[in-house]
Amino acid sequence: MPDITITIGGEAGQGVQTIGEVLSRILIRNGFYVFSIQDYHSRIRGGHNSVQVRFSDQPIQAIGTDTDLLVCLNHETQEIHQTALKKDGIMIGTISSPPSPSLPSSMVSIHFNEMAKELGNRIFANIIAVGALIEILGIDEKIAELYLEEIFQKKGKDIIRLNKEALALGQKEIRKHQISRKFLDKRNGSQNHGKLFIVGGNEALGLGAILAGCTFYSAYPMTPSTGVMNFISSRSKKYGIIVEQAEDEIAAINMAIGASYTGAKAMTATSGGGFCLMVEGLGLAAMTETPIVILDGMRPGPSTGLPTRTSQGDLEFVLSASHDEFPRFVFAPRDPQDAIDTMIRAFNLSDHFQVPVIILSDQYLADSNWTFSQIKVNEKPQNTQTVIGDQNYQRYVLAESGISPRALPGMSEALVVADSDEHDEIGHLTEDLELRVQMHQKRMKKIEKMREKTRPPVYKAGKTATIVGWGSTYGVLYEAREKLVNLGVDVGLLHFNDIYPLSKDILTFIKSVPQPVVIEGNYQGQLARLLERETKIPFSLRINRYDGRPFFVNELMNQIQEVLS
C-alpha cells in the first residue's frame, strides 16, 4: 500500500494530541507502522496546533509531505492546511468555506462537539473523531474497541460504554456520506508480525537514562527537552530518582556535578539557550573530571529563536563550548531505539573517561513517534567505576591513561579534593606551570582512547553519490535514498550518530565515499565543516535547511537531484 498521511488541527486544548495518540495506537494494533509528529507540516504558517500521523504496512521512519486526510477541529485548520491536501484528499470536521475547484471533492462537515453533547459531554468529541477516521480509512473497529477498553479500564464500565458509543457515532456519521476514495484494500497492515511498538524520542531518552542507572536529574524546563524530565519524574518513585527543578540552568548543571562528584549517575537536559547558561558548568565538569551527561534538545536560535521548531544548529557550539580545551563526547541519536542505547553508552563512557558527554537531540526527535517491530536494549549499563582510597589518596594522580582512579567522598578514609582551578595531584590549586602542562596533557590524552569507542557511521554504498547526515535526519535520509535508488539514482547513505571524537579509521574511510552531499538543519554545514577540518578534504556539496522545519522526503529527493545535476 502507499503510505497515508493524516493531519489533525485545532486549538490548544481541543484534543489534537489525544486524537493523534489514540489513532496511532489503534493503527499499530492493526499492524500498521506509524510515524507521528506534533505541530508540524511542511507548509504550516503561524501559531497553530496540529499532529501528523503517517502510516503504512511497510516500515516508515519519516514525516510525510502532503495530507491524504485532514481533520479540522476549528475553522483555522482548513485555512492553514488545505493547501497541503492531496488532489484526492479528504477533509472532515469544521469546514466553513465552500470547496474551490482546486480543493478536494470529498469534504464532510461534522460538528464533533455538537455530537459529543448528545452523549452528555464535550470530552467525547475526540473519540467521535477517531470513529470517523477509522470508518473513512476502513480500519477494523473491533481492535479500536479493545483499545478503548484497555485505556479506560480504570475509569469503569460506564466510561468504556460511552466511549464505544462515541466511536460508533463517528462511524455512523461517515456512513451517511459518499466518500470518494477508498484508502485500504485490507483492514490490517501485516499479519506476519507480532506486536508493534510506538516510541517517542523524549520517552526513549528518558528511558535510556533510567536504564543507565541515573539517580539524579536536575533541570530547568525548556522546550523541547521538558518531555524527558516529565518521563523521568513520572517514574522517580518507582526507580528512586531525585528530579529537581532548578532555579536556572546554571544551578541545574552545578547540582548534577555535585551529585556526580558524590557518586550518583547524574544528568541535566535543556535546549541551546539553556545550554548557553550551562557552559561554565561544562568546563567545571571537565576540569574537575566529574562525569556528567548533558542533553541538548536543539531548536532554532540564536537567543529564544523558534521555541517549538527544530534545528541542527548547535553542533559547532557544543563541540567547542567553554573556554580552553578538554575532551568530550558528542552523540546524536538517530531515532528512539538509538536514543535508548545512546543514553546508556553516554553514562558508561562519561563515567569511564570522567568526561562530559553531550547528547544532541532536537525538536523533531523529541516530539516524534516511531514504530518498531522490535525494541531492545543493545547496551549494558556499567556500574560506576570508583576505588576505595586511603589517607594517601590523590584524586588527580598523573595516570598513564589520563584516567585517575576516582574515590567518592565519605566512602573511606580518602579525602576527595576537586578544584576548578588548575590543581596538583591531590586536587589543591596550583600555580606550578610545569604541573599545569602535565595536568593538561593528562586530561587531553584521554581523547585518543575515546576515539576508539566511537561507533562508525551507518553506511550504505552508492555509486554516483553519497548523502551524508547526522542525528535525527536518519529516517528521512534513509527513505529518500531508497526512493532515489528505486528511481535509478544510485546514491549511498552515510549517517553519523557518534560525532565526536571520530576515529582515525572512520576519517580515512570517509575520504573514500563517492561524491558526498552533506544534509543538515543549519546554515553553514556544521558537520561538513567538522569533516573538512578533520579529513582536510572539501565537503562542498551541501543541502541546508534552517526554517525550523524538519526535512521532508519528497522535497529532499528533489534537492539531492538538483545538487547532483
Binding site: 494494533r29 511498538f197 516510541v199 520517552e203 528511558l207 533510567i210 536504564l211 543507565a212 542507572g213 539517580t215 539524579f216 536536575s218 522517580s236 518513585k237 526507580y239 528512586g240 530518582i241 531525585i242 529537581e244 532548578a246 532555579e247 536556572d248 544551578a251 541545574a252 552545578n254 547540582m255 548534577a256 556535578i257 555535585g258 551529585a259 556526580s260 562528584y261 558524590t262 557518586g263 550518583a264 547524574a266 561554565e280 558548568g281 567545571l284 574537575t288 525494541i375 536494549v377 549499563p381 560506576t384 567518592l408 567522598p409 565519605g410 573511606s412 578514609e413 580518602a414 579525602l415 576527595v416 579534593v417 576537586a418 578544584d419 576548578s420 582551578d421 586536587g427 589543591h428 590549586l429
Partner: protein, 283 residues
C-alpha cells in the same frame, strides 16, 4: 582528636579576618567530633573560597557563585555527609544570589558560611553587594550608588531554617555559632563580618569592634518578626549570634518521604526487567 588544619601555605594577607574564621571552623569541626572524611567543604571563587584548601576534609572548589547548587547536589545523594558551602559576599550574594534564595526554599541540610568583608579582595578592591552606598574604589571612584544588600533580613523574611551572624574578631563566639549551624538540621546561613585589611579602609577591625554586640540571653531567636527587626539592625550597633531558627523538614527527608528511599549511589536496578516492564507502555 583529628585535626582539621593541613600544612598548605596560606595565600591571605597578614592580619586578614579569614585567619580567625579558618581557625574557628576547624576547631568547631574537631569539637563536633567529626572525621575529615565525613565533611565536604564546597566553595566558589574569591579569597574566602580558598579556605577549604586549608582544611583537612573533602573539598569541592567550584565556580564563582555556584557553591550552593553543588553542595545541594552532594547532600541530596548522600545525606550522611556534613556539607558546608563557604565563600565570600561577592560569591554568595552577588554572583550566586539566586541560588541562595532558592536554597532557602529547598531547605537542604547544608551550612552556608559567608566571609562578608563588604569588598572584593581577589579582584582588588571593588565594591561588593554588601558595601555601603557611597563606597569608593578604583573601579567606583565616584562612590557606589546602589544600596547595600541585607542577607540576614532576606533569609529571615524567607523563613530560612537557621540564620546567624558572627564576627571574625570574636573567635569563641564564632566557633560556637559554627557548631550550632553545622549541627542544625536544615539550611543554615552564617554571615561572618570579616574585615579586609587591604581593600576596605572603612569597615576595619576597629570599626566593627566598636559596633558589634552579642545578642542577649533573653533574645528569642524563634520569633520571626522580632528576628526580622534584629536582622535590619546595622550602623552604630550590629548584633551577632543566632538571629533566627526555625525547625522544618529538610530536603533529603522530604525526598525520602516521597521516594521511599535514601540510596542514590549504587541503585540496584535490573535494567532488563525494567525495560520489559516499560516496553508494554509502547504497545
Amino acid at each position: 582528636m583529628s585535626s582539621f588544619r593541613n600544612q598548605l601555605e596560606i595565600a591571605w594577607c597578614p592580619g586578614c579576618g579569614n585567619f580567625n574564621l579558618l581557625t574557628a571552623l576547624s576547631e568547631a569541626l574537631v569539637e563536633l567530633g567529626l572525621k575529615p572524611s565525613q565533611v565536604v567543604l564546597v566553595s566558589g571563587i574569591g579569597q574566602a573560597a580558598k579556605a577549604p584548601h586549608y582544611i583537612q576534609a573533602n573539598v569541592f572548589n567550584g565556580l564563582h557563585g555556584r557553591s550552593i547548587p553543588v553542595a545541594f547536589g552532594i547532600q541530596s545523594v548522600n545525606p550522611e555527609l556534613t556539607v558546608i558551602a563557604e565563600s565570600g559576599d561577592g560569591c554568595m550574594y552577588g554572583e550566586g544570589g539566586n541560588h541562595l534564595i532558592h536554597a532557602i526554599r529547598r531547605n537542604p541540610n547544608i551550612t552556608v558560611i559567608v566571609h562578608d568583608n563588604q569588598v572584593y579582595g581577589l579582584t582588588k578592591g571593588q565594591a561588593s553587594p554588601t558595601s555601603e552606598a557611597g563606597f569608593v574604589s578604583k573601579t567606583q571612584p565616584l562612590g557606589t550608588v546602589s544600596e547595600s544588600f541585607h542577607p540576614l533580613a532576606l533569609a529571615v523574611s524567607q523563613n530560612a531554617s537557621f540564620v546567624a551572624r558572627g564576627f571574625a574578631g570574636d573567635k569563641e563566639e564564632l566557633k560556637s555559632i559554627f557548631k550550632q549551624a553545622i549541627q542544625w538540621k536544615g539550611f543554615s546561613l552564617v554571615d561572618v563580618l570579616q574585615p579586609c585589611v587591604t581593600f576596605n579602609r572603612i569597615n576595619t577591625f576597629g570599626w566593627y569592634k566598636s559596633r558589634v554586640y552579642s545578642l542577649p540571653e533573653d533574645y528569642d531567636p524563634e520569633d520571626q518578626v522580632g528576628a526580622f527587626k534584629i536582622s535590619l539592625e546595622w550602623g552604630d550597633k550590629i548584633p551577632t549570634g543566632i538571629i533566627y531558627r526555625h525547625t522544618k523538614p529538610i530536603f533529603s527527608d522530604l525526598v525520602f518521604e516521597k521516594l521511599g528511599r535514601k540510596e542514590f549511589l549504587n541503585p540496584t536496578r535490573n535494567y532488563q526487567s525494567i525495560f520489559e516492564d516499560e516496553k508494554h507502555g509502547f504497545e
